[in-house]
Amino acid sequence: MLALLAAVVMILAAGLPTGYVVLRDLRLALLVAPLITALSAAVSVMLMLIVGGRLLWWLGPLLLVQWAVAPVLLRRTAGAARPPHRSWADVLWLTVPLLPPFLLVIAPPVQWDANSIWFLHAAYFTHGAPLAREYLGLPSIDFSHPDYPPLASSTIGAVWGVLPGYKLYVAQIVSATLNFSAIAMLGYAVRVVTGRAPTMVSRLAAAGVALAAWGEAPFVVAGGLSDALWATAFVGAALLLLLRPDPLRRPVLALLLLGVAALTKNEGLIMAVALALIATVRLWRQLRRAAILWLPVAGGVVWSVLARHFGAKSDVTSDSNIGGLLRLDPTVYHKLRPTLTAIWTQVGPMVAVSVAVAVLGGIFLRRQRRAQGLGSDLWLWLVFLAYLFFLTLTYVTSTSNLAWYLGTSAFRVALPFALLAAASAVCWAAVAASGGRARGKRPLPPWSEPGPGATGEGPAGSSTPAAEAAGPDSGTDEWPGGRAEPGTRGVQEAVPGLR
């Protein structure tokens, strides 16, 4: 029990200073800290594999540097805006609803994939560079997807390095804490983008989407698996990048979540590429600033190159029948129907209702949505379609037995669909519940509340009179063919007839 507590305290404490720099609030910093620890551990594993040494030799100094630099960064950015929604009530709404299902963390740590993939990788990361490199290319561990990115395993490996004995319960609680952190950040992302709705509606929306992280696989979050980790981080990043009026104004949290997705699973990396691409298209007027969106992708690509360099095999690339797809091989195309049926079985009805909500919202509430500073819902559905395309392609081109493949994975990998559908629906509900009214006279971007002594923001910050006058619809909040109306418009003016 003491070891479990020590493990949680360690991953909270290690990432706390940087978390505080990112979110400027101790409560929110505690929520995001495990993800920062995990990103640091993932970077350390990559440095270990490239240069040599042991995981803790890299992670220790990296964390020390973060601890040393944090006060400097805080002083230099003392006047910067603080993030919204950081009250005790908000933090409790983000965490308390997650606790009852999270109690499953005390169940025995015997989940198949948790042991065969994440704990196994963590074990070889603890042995230092030479052995870790050897294990990556070892044919006897091909079953464990050694090419999977290292974020979750490196964090477990780091904790095992400090608390020796390879206790599986320790691994499980470390993994579950990472999942909890990512889910809470997803909830926070929903709270941020729906921040102009009535407070209770926005908090309920955040809690509702966060609870959807348990999806069709209740044991995934607390059982040592990483499907919820990448999926929640990814959808959180998507919300912050695609629905906020100016996502490049405060991009760090979104980038951090995108990095978590890219460094957790292969599908996370591919979807990070897709999201970076979609967000870049959305921000095409600020291409130079949008280049930063590709930083998390670069981290994932570095891992991918490293893993292949050391001989790690990927089931997606080595067992893929892309040639058959291109030759219009009927055996490939016959897999399409069972694949789509399996996905439909998992999330179909939920997605269908969400689509209906989106259509209704698009017809009746589109302008109210704009007035609330929420980006177009179509961006989220574009991400949804990109994932559907990628997932379907993976299944139909796989040479594995399809029934087995779908039966062992569809319920887990369908999670992003459920989260995107839920996020889309609650955003429309938040608009509907607002009755077209936003709190405050002028719809400022949700992350623009000035802190004490705020001095304004960067070049595109809406603290400049012109940008502020343009409101959240200006510039970035566009959809090809459906450009937001420019000009100075408050909510009442933008939506005449509504109180």
Binding site: L103, A107, R367
Partner: protein, 158 residues
Amino acid sequence: MEPGQAPDPAAAGGEGSGGHAPRVPAREVIRDRPAGNRVARIVVILAALAVVVVGAAGAFTATRQSVVHPAGVTADKLLKVQMESVQRQLSAQVPARSTIYFSKNNSSLWQQRIVEFATMDGIIVVLDPARAEFRLSLVKTTAAESAGGLRLVVQRNG
């Protein structure tokens, strides 16, 4: 009505307008139908609520399971005992950094668990028995002899 299409003046102006109501864009007509808009809002909220409830089903299941079986279901508890026992036996009988071959006669669950536990001790699992220093297999035994009823048999190769 299609978006952008001019509305019927009579419809836009309502009764008593005498057909002289000003032409308004379609978007304005949508805005000026408060009853339809209110119904749409209610439908959107209720449908979104349904989505959230369905989406949270897994969380409810997890909560129920953690309350009903706080220490896990019986099968999982037994598997945990077996895993801990096999992990201990492997550490005790096989030196770190050696190479082992694990019998293919055992289930894939145990093939993978042996690789996992071997990795923890820095032991390399090879697929070719001729390259291994030790050959391993799991046999059933009594719980009295070995916790969980599984005994790891280790034979030095050659």
